[in-house]
């Protein structure tokens, strides 16, 4: 594939890996967090961490939009999906996420009309094709997917589609990162910044990380070479004693972001006072809801939504794992009560969550060498 394979070139990968090796202070342990689930996926898919010395450790951050949806929201979604006359639409990987009593996939098996869509516009199309049914779109994701939800709602309004509504679970990236940084037991040396989110928000919202917390952040693309290069850029900052926001992904991310997308989001959404994150608890101003102007398209206002809060299971220590305080295997339920087939916490839900990854790959993480 042109314009893709170039960024998966093994020889170039080895060259950047050699550069990384030269930037490492012998004996020092580096802990870098990739904020975004897309990066985690690439790291596993290409075995990126195999090209790193063992004392460069990658910690998987809170940026997997599917994993951070709390059980209560999944339960609310399932309640909506079971409502008479409702066609419930959502992205594919959301369907497997467990609520307190099963997933959307199981609700579908039990008779609810749950349909996978690839874009919110597909959900709107389903609404137009089924004028006698109510179509609900379960919106999830960070700033990456929020603009497309916003545009879809604008189009629904413009086209006068009245049987379409949205259950909004969009979240923003900065508050959870700040919450992590505020945690006293956090041990991180730097961040691989989220490439897709930054396409929308740009680099500025991350400037507080070096300014207030003294940690470098490099916005990175999603190909393996992008990630290695971003790691080299972080290590170069650390070596030089600098810290700032740098952009490795300049071919896609403008530093000022996408102003049009931000405008549309500002029109359609407003911040919720607080939103719950699986594993991290309530974080203020971290979630989006539909603004007053779009209240009539808000599924949570159109339907009776139970709005129950389901506490994260007590034994689950995902929060500590996310912060890098404990390793997955140090969690009390890891590998026993909590497994990829029957996950309890966020880190086991998605195949790229830190715990699921360790469950599958743990034994092989030992073979790398320390420099």
């Amino acid at each position: 594939m042109r314009f893709v394979d170039e960024f998966r070139d093994a020889e170039l990968g080895r060259a950047v890996a050699a550069e990384i090796l030269s930037l490492i202070e012998p004996g020092r342990h580096y802990k870098l967090m990739e904020v975004c689930g897309g990066h985690t996926h690439s790291i596993y898919k290409y075995g990126v961490d195999d090209l790193l010395p063992a004392n460069v450790e990658l910690v998987h951050g809170p940026g997997c939009p599917v994993c951070v949806i709390p059980m209560g929201r999944v339960d609310d979604g399932i309640a909506l999906a079971r409502t008479d006359g409702v066609i419930f639409t959502c992205f594919g990987d959301m369907m497997r996420v467990p609520g307190s009593e099963g997933s959307l996939l199981e609700a579908k098996a039990a008779g609810a009309d749950v349909r996978m869509v690839y874009s919110p516009l597909d959900a709107l199309r389903i609404a137009k094709q089924n004028p006698d049914r109510e179509v609900v779109f379960f919106a999830i994701g960070f700033e990456t997917t929020a603009p497309s939800t916003a545009l879809t709602l604008k189009r629904a309004r413009a086209e006068g589609v009245t049987n379409f509504s949205c259950m909004c679970n969009h979240v923003t990236i900065v508050p959870p990162v700040r919450a992590l940084l505020e945690s006293p037991d956090l041990r991180l040396d730097g961040f691989i910044g989220p490439g897709h989110v930054s396409t929308i928000v740009g680099g500025r919202p991350f400037e507080f990380i070096p300014a207030d917390y003294g940690k470098p952040l490099v916005i990175a693309g999603f190909e393996p070479l992008d990630i290695l290069q971003a790691i080299a850029m972080i290590l170069r900052q650390l070596e030089a004693g600098r810290c700032g926001v740098e952009n490795q992904y300049t071919r896609v991310v403008p530093y000022e972001g996408n102003l049009r997308a931000l405008e549309v989001m500002a029109e359609v959404f407003e911040l919720r006072p607080h939103f719950e994150w699986r594993g991290l608890g309530f974080i203020s101003h971290s979630g989006l809801q539909l603004s007053e102007a779009y209240a009539d398209l808000d599924a949570e206002r159109r339907f009776q939504v139970p709005g129950v809060r389901v506490a994260d299971p007590k034994a689950c220590q995902c929060g500590e794992v996310l912060k890098g305080v404990i390793k997955p295997w140090e969690c009390k339920v890891f590998g026993t009560a909590c497994t990829p087939e029957r996950p309890i916490g966020t880190c086991m839900v998605s195949s790229e969550g830190a715990c699921a990854a360790y469950y599958n790959f743990g034994r092989f993480a030992r073979e790398r060498e320390v420099v």
């Binding site: 689930g37 898919k45 990126v48 690839y118 070479l225 295997w329 590998g335």
Partner: protein, 364 residues
Amino acid sequence: MAQLPATSEREQKILGIIETARGKRPKFRDEQITMAHGAGGKATHSLIEGMFVPALGGGELAAMADAGAVTVDGVELALTTDSFVVKPLRFPGGSIGELSVNGTVNDLAVAGARPVALSLSLILEEGLGAEVLRAEVAAIASTAREAGVEIVAGDTKVVERGHADGMYICTTGIGRRDGRATLSPAALRPGDRVLLSGTIGDHGTAIMLARGEFELDAKIESDTRSLWPAVAALLDAVGPQLRCLRDATRGGVASVLNELARSSAVAMLVDEASIPVEPAVAGAAEILGIDPMYVANEGKLVAFVAPDRAETALAALRSVPGCEAAAEIGEVRTEPPGMVLVQTGFGGRRVMDQLVGDPLPRIC
């Protein structure tokens, strides 16, 4: 440079627990059937190994091969059955009728049996156009002719509108086992080479695009074809050095490798760069966030061959029409038993696990 310090006792204990859990026969604990139980991954296995085999299994079913071995008065036969529920009924490169013949023929072929005869069971939906049915019957007839099998028995049922997506087909096949090789997962030896008969992911991708849900347009055709010519060529070329065969249908090549690694307690190391994928399939998979290794094929086999005969086997495979892109993609190892490891094109290594549910597109 130094090796990492030895892992702590507790970590070892946890890894041990995981290991034991992995080795155990899966239990079926779900309360209802979901689509995941039909996807060919972990859920399918828990259903088969947790419910069907314990209840029904004698020795032959428990072997869970593509076809069961039956010996009648000294004649070695293979028996298999398969149902076809594909939507849409016609798609680029094939149709449900062609699939229903080739699918069963291939289950026999990879069991090392020359396909001889099929039965055909049709479940038709009220309102199905006669022209649609006629076209599928014609497809069945010509595919059977090409594969050298005779349709010798049949059944027809009609169900109410809304119940069968037009039509479902079930075929049962019988074949004569070829004496030149004894194919079995138990025959796998460390060092054996893994051969793949051509490009992967064509069928599953063609179906996904034909459903029109993704608004993607690409010229991708299903690879449905009889695999008996490929199997015959391998048997001719290397005979008993052919250890085991599988057709990589539902769940793709990744699932086949995982099943065999588990059942034979060996490891597999796959070289990702050597796996043939059509550029259009690679592109669609990239956009949809799906790994072609898990996507269904309907005319591709995975062959395990003794190392010193691998080259001969590969040459024989490549001479068969439709298998020109065949490749050696990896080898059987001892450690770690039950696991499939991938050497990625980028130079790293990862585990290629069994599919947990249906392959669902990722959002990011």
